[in-house]
């Protein structure tokens, strides 16, 4: 059952008003422009025990994603494809509002939006992950771990997911006997096959004013937020509106235009990182 959120960070009324009036005048409380992302920092492969991993800091929002590869059974209606599973945990160290327990609706929503944005444009080549058709395939577990929550979790999750998947290596298959597949996780054979990259762009709306990449404080005062998945070909590959106010249909064109523009910037960052992986494979400094 979904409930009106009752446990959110409290923002003094005066600060709420400041945030709002700044947005109305085309400004932001942290000095950004409406269409400006916060600083994006990336660490590739911070946890080499996972088959792939990445840590992304989007301002003060910190997300680590790990990709694990295991042997399993395909879905009976997809015998010729590997299986991709996306999970997200909003662990309680990330925010005073989070409690331990199974993922809540926000974590589930984030995971499912990322999942759909990968699945629909076939971002991962699942057809290359079959070992014995109908019987044994690679399972790709993509676990999103939110470590510090300062808003716009989905964009950060999508970036760290895309980077983790791109760094992932498939372990060596040592032997196959009678549908029994033995692997050696210490030896990596080939990269996880990726078809194309996807990013999401989250656009907040307040009284018709648009801002990108809202902070947590901004998210709390916004009317609504719309998350748009865009692949590297500029196609829309997923949308999720969240928040408890409506949106004018007439504004959708502007929203999509802005999303496509910002998506190009994010894709450029992905390319830069993936083309220079060593520059981003540095010791983790979380500060």
């Amino acid at each position: 059952m979904s409930l009106t959120p009752t446990k959110q960070p409290i923002i003094p009324r005066i600060k709420r008003e400041t945030i709002k009036s700044l947005i109305r005048s085309g400004e932001r409380i942290d000095g950004r422009k409406p269409e400006e992302y916060r600083k994006i920092q990336v660490w590739l492969n911070p946890v080499p025990k996972a088959e792939g991993s990445a840590l992304v800091k989007l301002g003060d929002t910190t997300v680590m994603t790990g990709t694990k590869l295991e042997i399993g059974t395909p879905f009976s209606d997809r015998p010729d494809e590997g299986v991709l599973q996306v999970h997200a945990e909003f662990v309680p160290l990330a925010s005073p509002s989070f409690e331990p327990g199974p993922p809540d609706e926000n974590a589930i929503e984030a995971a499912r939006v990322v999942d759909r944005c990968l699945r629909e444009p076939r971002a991962v080549k699942l057809e290359d992950l079959v070992i014995i058709p109908g019987k044994k395939v690679w399972l790709v577990f993509n676990d999103i771990y939110l470590l510090d929550h300062d808003g716009n979790v989905i964009d950060a999750s999508m970036l760290s997911t895309m980077l983790a998947l791109n760094t992932a290596k498939i372990p060596k298959i040592v032997s196959i006997e009678d549908d029994n597949v033995i692997i050696d996780k210490t030896v990596k054979e080939r990269p996880l096959p990726i078809n194309l990259n996807v990013v999401t762009v989250s656009i907040g709306i307040l009284e018709g004013y648009m801002i990108v990449d809202p902070t947590l404080e901004e998210e709390i005062v916004l009317d609504t937020k719309i998350v748009i998945g865009v692949d590297e070909k500029g196609r829309i590959v997923g949308i999720q509106k969240t928040g408890m106010e409506g949106i004018k249909p007439s504004q959708l064109d502007d929203i999509i235009e802005l999303a496509l523009k910002k998506a190009q910037e994010l894709h450029a960052i992905l390319r830069e990182v993936l083309n220079n992986p060593n520059a981003y494979t540095t010791p983790l400094v979380l500060q």
Partner: protein, 241 residues
């Protein structure tokens, strides 16, 4: 793996004979349950959904009560027999997500500030699933709220646009959802011209998206009119009695 069926026939019609811009046959009843404060039964073709509303009523546990508005609680749930393969009764991740997006859509129209310290509970049960269960559920929930007399800024009509065999079509059913290229459900409040629910599961070009929104609004407007009529008829009946 079953082979993909033909979704757009040579004559341009869909697998069930509809034109791209056709809705399925839609039925609506309100006030169907005795216990609930408001209720509705809605069919979009073979998709069948019941919704009930309880409230405004006391909040349990108490500490969840909000000082300045009603707490909205919403559950979208599928009966075990509603799907081809029996659905486990435990709430799936999908059901949890859909409960959230439907709740958020309804939050946008309910005047919750009129009922501080209470809860308004919305329960949606899918009895048969044949595509469009969330949009059918949103329509049913909207009618049940109206039936319960909860003041709202507007009614919300739910409908999905899909892309199948490259063609944008209205109100997709399960086969079109499964074998199509995109499913875009929306919740639209026609009088105030606002979109309360919007998701896209699939791939669209920006241009296709623009046309899909137009098609969805147009379909939602027709459903909205039928909702108004259903409520109107019921109150007429009551007055006549």
């Amino acid at each position: 793996m079953i082979e993909k069926p033909v979704l757009i026939r040579d004559d341009g019609l869909r697998h069930d004979g509809r034109k791209p811009e056709d809705l399925r046959p839609i039925k609506m009843q309100v006030g169907i349950l005795k216990n609930a404060d408001g209720s509705a039964y809605v069919e979009y073709g073979k998709t069948k959904v019941v919704a009930a509303v309880y409230g405004p009523r006391e909040v349990h546990p108490r500490h969840l009560a909000l000082p300045d508005r009603a707490l909205i609680r919403c559950r979208y749930h599928m009966a075990p027999f509603s799907t081809s393969d029996r659905k486990s009764p435990a709430p799936s991740r999908r059901e949890i997500e859909l409960s959230k997006v439907i709740r958020e859509a309804l939050e946008a129209v309910i005047f919750s500030e009129l009922y501080p310290r209470t809860s308004i509970d919305i329960f949606i049960e899918v009895l048969q699933a044949d595509g469009g269960t969330r949009t059918t559920g949103l329509t049913a929930a909207s009618l049940a709220l109206a039936d319960a007399g909860i003041p709202m800024r507007d009614l919300i009509a739910g409908v999905a646009v899909g892309k199948v065999d490259g063609v944008l079509v209205l109100d997709i059913d399960e086969v079109e959802d499964e074998y199509g290229e995109a499913d875009m459900p929306i919740g639209y409040a026609a009088s105030i011209d606002e979109i309360m629910l919007l998701q896209l599961n699939g791939v669209l070009t920006p241009e296709e998206f623009r046309r899909a929104i137009e098609l969805a609004k147009e379909g939602a407007r027709r459903i909205y009119d039928q909702m108004k009529k259903t409520l109107h008829d019921k109150y007429l009946r009551i007055i006549e009695k």
